[in-house]
């Protein structure tokens, strides 16, 4: 509730007025209007703005400006909490504002404003604390001056400065005088002892719930601007194809269609509303130059890649002497793992709105990579990146897709809007979104592994075949070595938590025309399945329990052991289960967090039912523990789709699946009970958006093995069990 006790603290305007809209010099009266629902009337308050992250108004409104994109992971709650902790202000009373694009909001390791890699909390934790503490110290200094007392005698609590006699001044009352003070030197600012934290580490309700249950929250697809037109684009169904010719006679006669034009990605139909844009596109006839692309199919790739996996590749990891250890190991396995292309299938299909005027462009969109979008749009339009303003909205899911390899949906909108003189929103249908690609890469791995005399793994040799993710993104390609090693291709096995004395991971980079991209947990969702699957196979070879086997492997790694043991305990590992139910276990470290999961599964014929998942996580510090739990739930359910039924297959150069009828995803009736326990050590802060995904597939498949003695090496299960 807000200070006046009437309404929750966050209104739509606080999420959607990018200060950038104003800074962009656009007519505030027109462009701002759509977002000013419930806006504050009257004169602008006097404000204390010690930093780009924070404003304190004389009416006690405290606004935190967040440069990370909210795609469900809770950054509009967790990040403000960190600042509020040091400021001594109740997070529930905060207002949160979406930041403009400005270098001050850049990622600390990248010269860009970017949300991804499960890094939002750990890369902003210190700076947000610092800004909160600095503001607090300035408010205290202002109060000390007002009362004529020594600042060291004052304390703060919940938005007030209090003296030894119990006198109080609200932050709002101090805002104007604090604003007149010089910024204190960084070394003079004292941070709290974490033991005294009031908010960090305690569950805090999400600040964006109300706007998301009333329909007020504005996503990219909801952006509404004066004179705005809608557009769809007919894109080549075959990957890599281009427009040969098109006939738009019929399309132009569809009522509501305004214009039709060719853009680099296809043919755009611009119309007064979405329905006309869709009908117009249906009435188009486009001839594609697609002869080469039509030869592409998953079937053909499979046999080609299986052969490739038998040959040596680029070395991504080499510990010990794997060849020797394989030759001398007491028992060996040689297995092949296969994982399909997967669509991100964000609930909100891709879209972007652009207004292009001469050498100037405004973009409204849900994006994970504002700076890159601005650069690519500027390049496409041949204008200065400084003249591209990106206005971030809420994101209806991201999962990596909205940090596009080449800003595809932003650039396309700019091309469509160029020359129109009005804002144009390019809306993608679900089929557009699913068939256009940017998939998790298709992957085939050959693994040879052995156990030693003690039964533990002595050798693990993996050859991976697939298209490298980082190498195919503008932002990630600098991470690729000159030998062509893309770290994301081998992550998850090359650096797995299980110590293996002889470990060799090799990779073959493929180049098929299918666009691929980081998909929640990137290489870990592929190699975490392979690593844990092979460990399970070796445990079976050694006739040992998969949990006990992992315990033995992790004997000298207490932090990992603690997470593993807690998951087993939470699941009641070893205790009897209802008839027909079986358990599997997996552990994977990714993005700085360790996650273990136990899945409880029953198998009836070809039908696999996941009843319960017990999940433990060590992420160092859990800023908002209930949102850590929520991210585990989310990541497990997201990963389960990939286990059970989701896959993209290519036939004749086209993605076969186009919508949720052919690309089934998890639904309510199949959603398991999920129990999460946070078992934090005092390790560094880890990521939380992605690390919950990798363990679920191997945990479920371990349980299927316990139930059926059938080893699952290919996902989804619908492909394996049929």
């Amino acid at each position: 509730m807000s200070a006046d006790g009437s309404t929750p603290a966050i209104g739509r305007r606080h999420f959607l007025i990018g200060a950038g809209v104003v800074a962009g010099g656009l007519a505030a009266g027109t462009l701002l209007r759509p977002y000013l629902v419930g806006g504050r009337g009257g004169a602008a308050p006097k404000e204390f703005k010690p930093h780009a992250f924070l404003r304190i108004a004389d009416d006690d409104t405290v606004t935190v400006i967040i440069g990370k994109s909210e795609m469900g992971q809770g950054v509009y709650t967790g990040l403000p909490m960190i600042l509020a902790e040091e400021l001594d202000f109740d997070p529930q009373r905060l207002k949160v504002e979406i930041a403009p694009v400005d270098p001050v909001f850049n990622h600390p390791f990248l010269p860009a404003q970017f949300t991804g890699g499960s890094m939002s909390t750990n890369t902003t934790y210190e700076s947000l604390r610092h800004v909160g503490a600095m503001a607090r110290s300035m408010l205290v200094t202002a109060a000390a001056a007002r009362w004529g007392v020594d600042a060291s005698t004052l304390r703060t609590e919940a938005g007030k400065v209090i003296d030894t006699a119990g006198r109080e001044l609200r932050y709002g009352e101090l805002a104007e005088s604090a604003a007149a003070l010089p910024l204190p030197a960084k070394e003079t600012i004292r941070l709290k002892d974490p033991k005294t934290f009031s908010y960090i580490g305690k569950p805090q309700k999400r600040l964006d719930s109300r706007v998301k249950v009333t329909g007020e929250a504005v996503f990219g697809i909801d952006v509404d601007l004066p004179g705005m037109l809608m557009a769809t684009v007919a894109r080549a169904p075959v990957f890599g194809a281009s427009v040969k010719s098109f006939d738009d006679t019929r399309a132009r006669s569809v009522p509501g269609v305004v214009d039709i034009k060719q853009v680099p990605s296809g043919v755009a139909v611009i119309a007064e509303h979405t329905w006309a844009a869709l009908k117009g596109r249906e009435a188009l006839s486009v001839e594609w130059d697609d002869a080469d692309g039509k030869k592409l199919s998953t079937e053909a790739l499979r046999s080609e890649w299986q052969a490739l996996a038998a040959k040596p590749g680029i070395v991504g990891q080499n510990i010990g002497d794997t060849a020797k250890a394989l030759a001398s190991g007491s028992r060996r396995i040689e297995v092949e793992y296969e994982l399909p292309y997967l669509a991100h299938a964000c609930m909100e299909p891709m879209n972007a709105t652009a207004l292009v005027k001469d050498d100037d462009c405004d973009l409204w969109l849900g994006t994970q990579s504002q700076s890159q979008d601005a650069q690519f749009v500027a390049a496409a339009l041949g204008i200065d990146p400084k003249n591209v303003r990106v206005h971030t909205t809420f994101l209806g899911g991201g999962f990596g897709r909205r940090a596009s390899a080449d800003s595809d949906f932003a650039v396309e909108a700019a091309h469509v809007a160029k020359g129109v003189g009005k804002p144009v929103k390019v809306v993608w249908t679900r089929e557009d979104d699913m068939r256009r690609g940017y998939y998790r890469p298709y992957s085939i791995s050959k693994v040879r592994a052995a156990i030693g005399a003690d039964g533990l793994p002595s050798a693990f040799h993996q050859v991976i075949v697939g298209k490298p993710v980082l190498a195919n993104t503008a932002m990630g390609k600098m991470a690729v070595s000159k030998e062509g090693l893309d770290p994301s291709s081998v992550e998850g096995t090359a650096n797995m938590a299980y110590p293996i004395p002889n470990l060799r991971v090799e990779v073959h980079n493929t180049t098929e025309a299918v666009p691929i991209l980081w998909w929640r947990s990137v290489g870990h969702s592929i190699n975490g399945f392979v690593a844990n699957g092979v460990i399970d196979e070796l445990a079976a070879l050694a006739k040992r329990d998969p949990y006990e086997y992992r315990q033995a492997m992790l004997a000298d790694k207490p932090r990992y052991r603690a997470v593993l043991d807690a998951a087993a305990e939470l699941a009641g590992w070893g205790q009897p289960l209802p008839a027909g139910r079986h358990r599997g276990i997996a552990l994977q470290e990714s993005f700085g967090s360790i996650v273990a999961q136990v899945a409880e599964v029953s198998v009836t014929g070809k039908e696999v039912r996941v009843h319960r998942v017990s999940c433990t996580v060590d992420c160092g510090i859990a800023v908002n523990p209930d949102q850590v739990v929520a991210q585990m739930e989310s990541a497990i359910n997201y990963g389960l789709c990939a286990v059970l039924e989701s896959e993209i297959t290519i036939r004749d150069g086209v993605a076969v699946q186009g919508n949720f009828d052919s690309y089934p995803v998890l639904r309510m009736a199949a959603a398991p009970q999920i129990d999460v326990r946070i078992v934090n050590s005092d390790g560094p802060i880890g990521g939380i958006g992605e690390p919950g995904t990798p363990p679920i597939a191997p945990a479920v498949c371990g349980a299927i093995f316990a139930a059926t003695s059938k080893r699952i090496r290919r996902l989804p299960l619908s492909a394996s069990l049929s």
């Binding site: 509404d224 979405t274 899911g397 989310s634």
Partner: protein, 157 residues
């Protein structure tokens, strides 16, 4: 001209009678709380109430609405979020990205209207058509039960 009664207000729109209600609501009436997710009655993001019944507005032509009263998420309780489903959703921190949640909220509101104490099986049946890519299902399940409880308490009082 087609007349629609939306959230208690009579609205006139001049459109192709085949236009799905979804696009009429979003593009013409600017009620963007109702979302597009699939366009083929697979995901539930576009769920609205027609005379209290949950419907997929993406496959319902505006001409088929007739005199039925349409309620969208904006009309559930306005900005106050006082509907039992909204209260329960806020209390249990259900939302993540939030994109599916308008549809989830509308489906749940219709469910507890018809069934004051839904069981797990009732929830599975009523909510299975609503996809959430953020996987908020465990919380939706708990929140539907909590919403029913809030509603019962309200009705009893």
């Amino acid at each position: 001209m087609i007349s629609l009664k939306v959230n208690g207000v009579e609205r006139q729109i001049d459109v192709d009678p085949d236009m799905p209600l979804l696009w009429a609501l979003r593009d013409l009436l600017k009620l963007t709380g109702t979302k597009y997710g699939c366009g083929i009655a697979q995901c539930g993001a576009c769920t609205v109430h027609l005379d209290g019944q949950p419907m997929r507005s993406c496959v319902m032509p505006v001409s088929a609405v007739g005199s039925a009263e349409i309620r969208t998420v904006e009309g559930l309780s306005g900005a106050a979020a006082t509907h039992p489903v909204q209260q329960a959703w806020i209390e249990l921190d259900v939302v993540q990205c939030g994109y599916c949640q308008s549809g989830q909220v509308m489906a749940a509101a219709a469910l507890i209207e018809q069934n004051p104490a839904p069981t797990d099986a009732d929830i599975d049946a009523a909510m299975n058509g609503n996809i959430c890519r953020c996987g908020t299902y465990p919380r939706i399940r708990a929140a539907v039960k909590r919403a029913a409880e809030i509603k019962r308490a309200g009705t009893a009082a």
